[in-house]
């Protein structure tokens, strides 16, 4: 399916649809407005894991923030399961690059935050929290404060907090970007493990923003490459590697070939961005 057909099809009844999405930021003083996002179309079907790969400053985070409802588009629309998105909501769970655990709440209380905001019965909420604490390997850390945790442990908690809310789609904005290389690889495997522990029909829809090529391929079944600012989706590359995946797929010829293709795409954009 082409990504930008001449006439945009209607939004999907199930899944995420982005149509003609643009964003420009007003200029400082008399400067002309900056265009961050060119008209962008995008479909993510239920249960898909899609990586958005782009050089820094290409507008990929802006795209994700608009899907989350945290930023307003200048034009175009976002639909989730046929419903227009205008504001943030618990149907779109998010994990940020910065550490956004509430420092005054313990690990367990952080994971309970969304469930309590949505007035789920306390007993049920605690059971759900306990399940995600176990799934993300946080057992024994329930009563720790965020400041007592390493970066990796904080992002595990943030992932558990987003998943405990049972969102329709999980939006991940470079969630491992601040972690060291080794922790980052472990977290990628953990994410796939948590995601893959559901049956293929029950898996969460995931939109994962990153500038790391290995990470994009390793996680996703489809990689969208964004151009340099103003961003648009310039290429779509399916990843034909079967799940479950572990780190050994990173050494396979298919992986190397995908990586070479994506590197060529990205290098071109980084060079353009550097010349601006």
């Amino acid at each position: 399916m082409p990504d930008t057909p001449p006439l945009a099809p209607p939004p999907l009844a199930h899944g995420l649809s982005v149509r003609g999405l643009t964003r420009s930021f007003p200029g400082q003083g008399r400067a002309a407005p900056t265009l961050a996002l060119q008209p962008t179309d995008l479909d993510v079907r239920p249960g898909e894991f899609v990586s958005i790969l782009g050089p820094s400053g290409c507008g990929k985070s802006t795209l994700l923030r608009i899907v989350a409802g945290l930023d307003r588009p200048s034009g175009g629309s976002v639909h989730l399961n046929g419903q227009g998105v205008t504001r943030p909501g618990p149907d779109r769970g998010m994990v940020f690059q910065s550490y956004t655990l509430f420092p005054w709440l313990t690990v367990e209380q952080n994971i309970l935050f969304g469930l309590r905001e949505r007035k789920r019965p306390e007993k049920e909420a605690r059971e759900i929290a306990a399940r995600f604490i176990a799934r993300t390997g946080l057992r024994g850390f329930e009563n720790h404060w965020p400041r007592q945790l390493s970066g990796g442990m904080q992002q595990r908690t943030a992932l558990a907090r987003a998943l405990a809310n049972d969102p329709e789609i999980l939006l991940l904005d470079e969630p491992f970007g601040a972690l060291d290389h080794q922790t980052r690889e472990l977290m990628q495997e953990l994410l796939l493990e948590v995601w893959g522990s559901d049956t293929p029909e029950a898996r969460k829809t995931v939109l994962f923003v990153t500038h790391d090529i290995d990470e994009a391929i390793f996680l996703a079944n489809r990689v969208l490459v964004m151009s340099a600012r103003p961003g648009r989706v310039k290429a779509e590359i399916p990843v034909p590697l079967p799940y479950p995946r572990d780190w050994t797929v990173k050494t396979t010829p298919i992986f190397a070939e995908l990586k070479a293709r994506l590197m060529a795409e990205i290098r071109e954009e980084v060079r353009k961005a550097a010349l601006v």
Binding site: A68, G89, P90, M94, P103, W104, E117, W145, R147
Partner: protein
């Protein structure tokens, strides 16, 4: 000495005590040698002796109790109004735009300059004393709390939105808990200032309190009592500060990790 290099705890305590010793030593020296006349400055032991007589003969404990009650009464009233208003101003920009210009003006009005007016309005009773403290503290607390609440990390607010929080939840379960430790610190600071207002309020038209005692001692030229009164204020300040800090550490353990 290296810049910014921490000092061991034992050395820090020793240094802190050393200054007190030097200070009292210098004070004893200038009074004992007659360099300064006793009329102007009582010696340390004279001040202590005056203090003893204050407690045993002049019911100084009653004065202390009176002053503490005035400070706390006026301060609690001010905080009860100023903290909620400051939080609303920090959270909601139109509320801030409405109050901020007036409060920025009002907080430069010297509370002590209101004392004559307040005596006219409220007489020389407790209401006047409390209103001096109230006026001196309320605008300061509002502005400080508004700035603290307004500086809430926006990414925490955004995270709460994506977890399903609405307006009220953001204020009650993100902005308020995030601001709480710094709000308590601001209150600790302003409480220190409130102590200076209460003494001024008691210098004029009061029948009791530490300030009133100092005023009486001046008429009798008893510098020992005056100095003792001032030292007692400092000591009470030190104790309240310590209690406030201990309370904050207890309440907000997460913030001190």
């Amino acid at each position: 000495m290296e810049p910014l290099k921490p000092v061991p705890a034992s050395a820090r305590i020793a240094l802190g005590i050393a200054f007190f010793v030097l200070f009292i030593g210098a004070w004893a020296l200038v009074t004992a040698t007659g360099f300064v006349q006793p009329l102007f400055l009582a010696s340390p032991w004279q001040a202590l002796a005056s203090g003893w007589s204050l407690f045993t003969e002049y019911n100084f404990i009653g004065d202390i109790g009176m002053t503490v009650w005035r400070v706390l009464g006026g301060f609690v009233l001010a905080a009860a109004l100023a903290v909620p208003l400051g939080l609303l101003m920090g959270a909601y920009k139109p509320v801030e735009a409405f109050f901020e210009p007036f409060i920025s003006f009002a907080r430069y009005l010297p509370a002590s300059a209101f004392i004559p007016l307040l005596i006219l309005w409220a007489g020389v009773g407790e209401a006047q004393k409390l209103s001096v403290i109230f006026l001196g503290s309320v605008f300061q607390v509002v502005i400080m709390v508004a700035v603290i609440a307004g500086a809430t990390r926006i990414d925490l607010v955004e995270a709460a939105y994506t977890l399903g929080a609405r307006q009220g939840g953001i204020l009650r379960r993100v902005i308020i808990p995030a601001a709480a430790p710094q709000v308590m610190e601001a209150l600790r600071l302003v409480l220190g200032w409130a102590w200076t207002y209460v003494i001024v309020a008691e210098l004029i038209g009061a029948q009791s309190g530490i300030g009133h005692m100092i005023m009486d001692s001046q008429r009798l030229l008893d510098t020992g009592q005056m100095i003792f009164g001032i030292v007692v204020i400092g000591l009470i300040g030190l104790v309240t500060d310590f209690l406030f800090k201990a309370l904050n550490r207890r309440l907000f353990r997460w913030a001190t990790l």
